[in-house]
Protein backbone atom coordinates (compact mmCIF):
# COMPACT_ATOMS: atom_id res chain seq x y z
CA UNK A 1 0.00 0.00 0.00
CA UNK A 2 1.25 3.46 -0.90
CA UNK A 3 0.09 6.16 1.44
CA UNK A 4 0.65 9.85 1.95
CA UNK A 5 3.51 9.40 4.42
CA UNK A 6 5.40 7.03 2.11
CA UNK A 7 5.06 9.47 -0.79
CA UNK A 8 6.32 12.36 1.36
CA UNK A 9 9.30 10.35 2.57
CA UNK A 10 10.07 9.36 -1.01
CA UNK A 11 10.20 13.03 -2.02
CA UNK A 12 12.57 13.79 0.84
CA UNK A 13 14.72 10.76 0.01
CA UNK A 14 15.07 11.93 -3.58
CA UNK A 15 16.33 15.29 -2.35
CA UNK A 16 18.69 13.51 0.05
CA UNK A 17 20.07 11.42 -2.82
CA UNK A 18 20.71 14.55 -4.87
CA UNK A 19 22.38 16.11 -1.85
CA UNK A 20 24.58 13.04 -1.33
CA UNK A 21 25.61 13.04 -5.02
CA UNK A 22 26.68 16.68 -5.09
CA UNK A 23 26.10 18.71 -1.96
CA UNK A 24 27.38 21.97 -3.46
CA UNK A 25 25.36 21.91 -6.67
CA UNK A 26 22.19 20.63 -4.97
CA UNK A 27 22.38 23.41 -2.39
CA UNK A 28 22.91 25.91 -5.19
CA UNK A 29 19.92 24.57 -7.16
CA UNK A 30 17.62 24.29 -4.16
CA UNK A 31 18.48 27.53 -2.44
CA UNK A 32 18.75 29.61 -5.59
CA UNK A 33 16.01 32.16 -5.95
CA UNK A 34 13.09 30.82 -7.94
CA UNK A 35 11.61 27.42 -8.52
CA UNK A 36 13.19 24.07 -9.18
CA UNK A 37 12.11 20.71 -10.54
CA UNK A 38 12.90 17.12 -9.71
CA UNK A 39 12.19 14.40 -12.25
CA UNK A 40 12.73 10.66 -12.41
CA UNK A 41 12.46 8.73 -15.67
CA UNK A 42 11.33 5.07 -16.01
CA UNK A 43 14.97 3.86 -15.98
CA UNK A 44 15.59 5.47 -12.58
CA UNK A 45 17.65 8.40 -13.79
CA UNK A 46 16.79 11.53 -11.87
CA UNK A 47 17.47 15.20 -12.43
CA UNK A 48 17.12 18.18 -10.17
CA UNK A 49 17.24 21.49 -11.97
CA UNK A 50 16.70 25.20 -11.71
CA UNK A 51 18.15 28.32 -13.31
CA UNK A 52 21.25 27.65 -11.16
CA UNK A 53 22.06 24.36 -12.89
CA UNK A 54 21.17 20.73 -13.36
CA UNK A 55 22.28 17.63 -11.48
CA UNK A 56 21.77 14.05 -12.65
CA UNK A 57 21.70 11.17 -10.16
CA UNK A 58 20.20 7.72 -9.64
CA UNK A 59 16.77 8.00 -8.02
CA UNK A 60 15.49 4.44 -8.14
CA UNK A 61 16.62 3.43 -4.63
CA UNK A 62 14.37 6.12 -3.15
CA UNK A 63 11.36 4.78 -5.05
CA UNK A 64 11.57 1.18 -3.89
CA UNK A 65 9.53 1.78 -0.73
CA UNK A 66 6.51 2.74 -2.82
CA UNK A 67 6.16 -0.91 -3.80
CA UNK A 68 4.97 -0.21 -7.31
CA UNK A 69 6.72 0.12 -10.63
CA UNK A 70 7.20 3.80 -11.37
CA UNK A 71 6.84 5.17 -14.89
CA UNK A 72 7.65 8.80 -14.19
CA UNK A 73 8.02 11.22 -11.33
CA UNK A 74 7.68 14.96 -11.63
CA UNK A 75 7.91 17.32 -8.66
CA UNK A 76 7.70 21.11 -8.95
CA UNK A 77 8.92 23.19 -6.04
CA UNK A 78 7.91 26.80 -5.64
CA UNK A 79 9.93 29.05 -3.36
CA UNK A 80 8.22 30.84 -0.52
CA UNK A 81 9.63 32.78 2.40
CA UNK A 82 12.49 31.63 4.65
CA UNK A 83 13.38 28.66 2.46
CA UNK A 84 9.90 27.23 2.72
CA UNK A 85 8.86 25.55 -0.50
CA UNK A 86 5.47 24.41 -1.63
CA UNK A 87 5.45 21.48 -3.99
CA UNK A 88 3.22 19.52 -6.30
CA UNK A 89 4.35 15.98 -6.95
CA UNK A 90 3.07 13.49 -9.46
CA UNK A 91 4.03 9.81 -9.42
CA UNK A 92 2.90 7.84 -12.43
CA UNK A 93 2.79 4.04 -12.03
CA UNK A 94 2.84 1.38 -14.71
CA UNK A 95 -0.41 -0.10 -13.35
CA UNK A 96 -2.99 2.39 -14.67
CA UNK A 97 -2.64 4.71 -11.71
CA UNK A 98 -0.96 7.86 -10.52
CA UNK A 99 -0.58 9.59 -7.19
CA UNK A 100 -0.33 13.32 -6.76
CA UNK A 101 0.51 15.13 -3.59
CA UNK A 102 0.78 18.77 -2.64
CA UNK A 103 2.52 20.04 0.44
CA UNK A 104 5.27 22.21 1.77
CA UNK A 105 8.63 21.76 3.43
CA UNK A 106 11.56 23.78 4.70
CA UNK A 107 14.34 22.88 2.32
CA UNK A 108 17.20 24.39 4.33
CA UNK A 109 16.16 22.42 7.38
CA UNK A 110 15.99 19.23 5.34
CA UNK A 111 19.40 19.50 3.71
CA UNK A 112 21.35 20.99 6.59
CA UNK A 113 19.96 18.93 9.46
CA UNK A 114 21.05 15.34 9.48
CA UNK A 115 19.85 14.27 12.89
CA UNK A 116 16.30 13.39 11.96
CA UNK A 117 14.86 9.98 11.14
CA UNK A 118 14.67 10.90 7.49
CA UNK A 119 18.37 11.59 7.20
CA UNK A 120 19.20 8.43 9.12
CA UNK A 121 16.97 6.49 6.74
CA UNK A 122 18.68 8.08 3.74
CA UNK A 123 22.12 7.23 5.15
CA UNK A 124 21.04 3.67 5.83
CA UNK A 125 19.73 3.43 2.30
CA UNK A 126 23.01 4.72 0.86
CA UNK A 127 25.05 2.42 3.12
CA UNK A 128 22.92 -0.57 2.11
CA UNK A 129 23.35 0.28 -1.57
CA UNK A 130 27.12 0.58 -1.07
CA UNK A 131 27.14 -2.75 0.80
CA UNK A 132 25.14 -4.37 -1.99
CA UNK A 133 27.59 -3.00 -4.57
CA UNK A 134 30.58 -4.21 -2.51
CA UNK A 135 29.01 -7.67 -2.26
CA UNK A 136 28.38 -7.70 -6.01
CA UNK A 137 32.02 -6.74 -6.66
CA UNK A 138 33.15 -9.50 -4.32
CA UNK A 139 30.96 -12.04 -6.11
CA UNK A 140 32.29 -10.86 -9.45
CA UNK A 141 35.84 -11.40 -8.22
CA UNK A 142 34.90 -14.87 -6.93
CA UNK A 143 33.41 -15.71 -10.30
CA UNK A 144 36.62 -14.67 -12.04
CA UNK A 145 35.66 -11.27 -13.43
Amino acid sequence: MTNRVQVKITIAKLIELAYSKDKGLTTKIVLSKGNFKLKVSPNGNATISSSAGILTFRGDSALQALGAKIKNVSISFTAGEDNNFSYIAMFSFSGAASISLSGSLNMEKLITSCSGLLCQAARLLQRRNKQNKAREMELQRIMGY
Binding site: T2, N3, A68, M90, A96, A97, S98, I99, S102
Partner: protein, 147 residues
Protein backbone atom coordinates in the same frame (compact mmCIF):
# COMPACT_ATOMS: atom_id res chain seq x y z
CA UNK B 1 -53.80 -3.72 -31.32
CA UNK B 2 -50.66 -5.57 -32.41
CA UNK B 3 -49.20 -2.28 -33.61
CA UNK B 4 -49.86 -0.59 -30.28
CA UNK B 5 -48.13 -3.43 -28.41
CA UNK B 6 -45.20 -3.22 -30.84
CA UNK B 7 -44.85 0.56 -30.37
CA UNK B 8 -45.09 0.21 -26.58
CA UNK B 9 -42.46 -2.53 -26.73
CA UNK B 10 -40.09 -0.32 -28.72
CA UNK B 11 -40.62 2.60 -26.31
CA UNK B 12 -39.94 0.28 -23.37
CA UNK B 13 -36.75 -1.07 -24.97
CA UNK B 14 -35.51 2.44 -25.75
CA UNK B 15 -36.14 3.61 -22.21
CA UNK B 16 -34.23 0.59 -20.84
CA UNK B 17 -31.31 1.42 -23.12
CA UNK B 18 -31.34 5.01 -21.91
CA UNK B 19 -31.30 3.87 -18.29
CA UNK B 20 -28.44 1.51 -19.05
CA UNK B 21 -26.41 4.31 -20.66
CA UNK B 22 -26.96 6.65 -17.75
CA UNK B 23 -25.86 4.25 -15.03
CA UNK B 24 -24.08 6.32 -12.42
CA UNK B 25 -20.35 5.74 -12.00
CA UNK B 26 -20.36 5.96 -8.21
CA UNK B 27 -22.12 2.59 -7.67
CA UNK B 28 -19.55 1.01 -10.01
CA UNK B 29 -16.76 2.53 -7.93
CA UNK B 30 -18.37 1.22 -4.73
CA UNK B 31 -18.72 -2.22 -6.28
CA UNK B 32 -15.02 -2.14 -7.28
CA UNK B 33 -14.01 -1.06 -3.76
CA UNK B 34 -16.14 -3.81 -2.29
CA UNK B 35 -14.56 -6.47 -4.56
CA UNK B 36 -11.12 -5.29 -3.44
CA UNK B 37 -12.11 -5.48 0.21
CA UNK B 38 -13.41 -9.00 -0.24
CA UNK B 39 -10.36 -9.95 -2.31
CA UNK B 40 -12.56 -11.06 -5.19
CA UNK B 41 -9.79 -10.53 -7.71
CA UNK B 42 -11.77 -11.99 -10.62
CA UNK B 43 -14.57 -9.49 -10.05
CA UNK B 44 -12.10 -6.59 -9.72
CA UNK B 45 -10.32 -7.76 -12.87
CA UNK B 46 -13.58 -7.90 -14.85
CA UNK B 47 -14.32 -4.29 -13.94
CA UNK B 48 -11.12 -3.09 -15.63
CA UNK B 49 -10.93 -1.92 -19.24
CA UNK B 50 -9.81 -4.50 -21.78
CA UNK B 51 -6.48 -2.64 -22.11
CA UNK B 52 -5.80 -3.10 -18.39
CA UNK B 53 -7.04 -6.70 -18.44
CA UNK B 54 -4.73 -7.55 -21.35
CA UNK B 55 -1.85 -5.75 -19.65
CA UNK B 56 -2.21 -8.03 -16.64
CA UNK B 57 -2.71 -11.24 -18.61
CA UNK B 58 0.30 -10.46 -20.82
CA UNK B 59 2.73 -10.90 -17.94
CA UNK B 60 0.86 -12.79 -15.19
CA UNK B 61 -2.54 -14.08 -14.09
CA UNK B 62 -5.64 -12.79 -12.29
CA UNK B 63 -4.24 -14.24 -9.04
CA UNK B 64 -1.43 -11.68 -9.34
CA UNK B 65 -3.92 -8.79 -9.48
CA UNK B 66 -2.59 -7.08 -6.31
CA UNK B 67 1.05 -7.42 -7.35
CA UNK B 68 0.42 -6.15 -10.85
CA UNK B 69 -1.83 -3.28 -9.76
CA UNK B 70 -0.54 -2.29 -6.29
CA UNK B 71 -2.12 1.16 -6.32
CA UNK B 72 -5.43 0.13 -7.87
CA UNK B 73 -5.72 -2.85 -5.54
CA UNK B 74 -5.30 -0.65 -2.47
CA UNK B 75 -7.99 1.88 -3.46
CA UNK B 76 -10.34 0.47 -0.81
CA UNK B 77 -7.94 1.60 1.92
CA UNK B 78 -7.39 5.18 0.70
CA UNK B 79 -10.49 6.99 1.93
CA UNK B 80 -11.47 6.24 5.50
CA UNK B 81 -14.27 8.78 5.28
CA UNK B 82 -16.07 9.90 2.15
CA UNK B 83 -17.74 13.29 2.06
CA UNK B 84 -18.95 13.84 -1.50
CA UNK B 85 -18.62 12.72 -5.09
CA UNK B 86 -19.04 14.22 -8.54
CA UNK B 87 -19.30 12.60 -11.91
CA UNK B 88 -19.34 13.66 -15.50
CA UNK B 89 -20.18 11.47 -18.47
CA UNK B 90 -19.30 12.41 -22.03
CA UNK B 91 -19.50 10.49 -25.28
CA UNK B 92 -15.85 9.41 -24.90
CA UNK B 93 -15.50 8.61 -21.21
CA UNK B 94 -16.88 9.00 -17.71
CA UNK B 95 -15.01 10.59 -14.85
CA UNK B 96 -15.77 10.28 -11.15
CA UNK B 97 -14.20 12.22 -8.30
CA UNK B 98 -14.64 11.03 -4.71
CA UNK B 99 -13.57 13.41 -1.93
CA UNK B 100 -12.85 12.41 1.64
CA UNK B 101 -10.19 11.93 4.28
CA UNK B 102 -7.39 9.38 4.47
CA UNK B 103 -6.02 7.48 7.47
CA UNK B 104 -4.13 10.63 8.58
CA UNK B 105 -7.50 12.47 8.52
CA UNK B 106 -6.11 14.68 5.75
CA UNK B 107 -8.03 15.73 2.62
CA UNK B 108 -7.75 13.20 -0.19
CA UNK B 109 -9.50 12.64 -3.50
CA UNK B 110 -9.72 9.74 -5.90
CA UNK B 111 -10.25 10.54 -9.58
CA UNK B 112 -11.37 7.65 -11.76
CA UNK B 113 -11.76 7.47 -15.51
CA UNK B 114 -14.10 4.92 -17.06
CA UNK B 115 -14.49 4.01 -20.69
CA UNK B 116 -17.44 2.24 -22.24
CA UNK B 117 -16.87 -1.25 -23.58
CA UNK B 118 -19.74 -3.47 -24.71
CA UNK B 119 -22.13 -0.93 -23.20
CA UNK B 120 -20.55 -1.25 -19.74
CA UNK B 121 -18.35 1.25 -17.89
CA UNK B 122 -14.87 -0.16 -17.29
CA UNK B 123 -12.16 1.35 -15.12
CA UNK B 124 -9.31 2.67 -17.24
CA UNK B 125 -7.22 4.92 -14.97
CA UNK B 126 -7.10 6.18 -11.40
CA UNK B 127 -5.41 9.05 -9.61
CA UNK B 128 -5.08 9.44 -5.86
CA UNK B 129 -4.71 13.07 -4.83
CA UNK B 130 -3.26 13.79 -1.40
CA UNK B 131 -4.17 17.43 -0.78
CA UNK B 132 -2.38 19.98 1.37
CA UNK B 133 -5.63 21.53 2.57
CA UNK B 134 -9.41 21.19 2.26
CA UNK B 135 -9.37 24.12 -0.19
CA UNK B 136 -7.79 21.82 -2.76
CA UNK B 137 -10.80 19.48 -2.93
CA UNK B 138 -12.11 19.36 -6.53
CA UNK B 139 -15.64 20.74 -6.76
CA UNK B 140 -16.38 19.11 -10.10
CA UNK B 141 -15.71 15.66 -11.57
CA UNK B 142 -12.05 15.64 -12.58
CA UNK B 143 -10.51 13.12 -14.93
CA UNK B 144 -7.25 11.64 -13.59
CA UNK B 145 -4.06 13.35 -14.73
CA UNK B 146 -1.59 11.11 -16.57
CA UNK B 147 2.13 11.84 -16.85
Amino acid sequence: MKNIVLVLGIILLNSCAAISENVALYPIYKSFISSLGEKEHKKSFEMLSSKNQNNLLKSSSIKQFSNHYPVLSSLNTVLLKEIEHFENISSKNGCLTVNGFDSSKEPTSINLEFIKENNKWKLDYTQIMYHGSNKEFPIIATCPARL
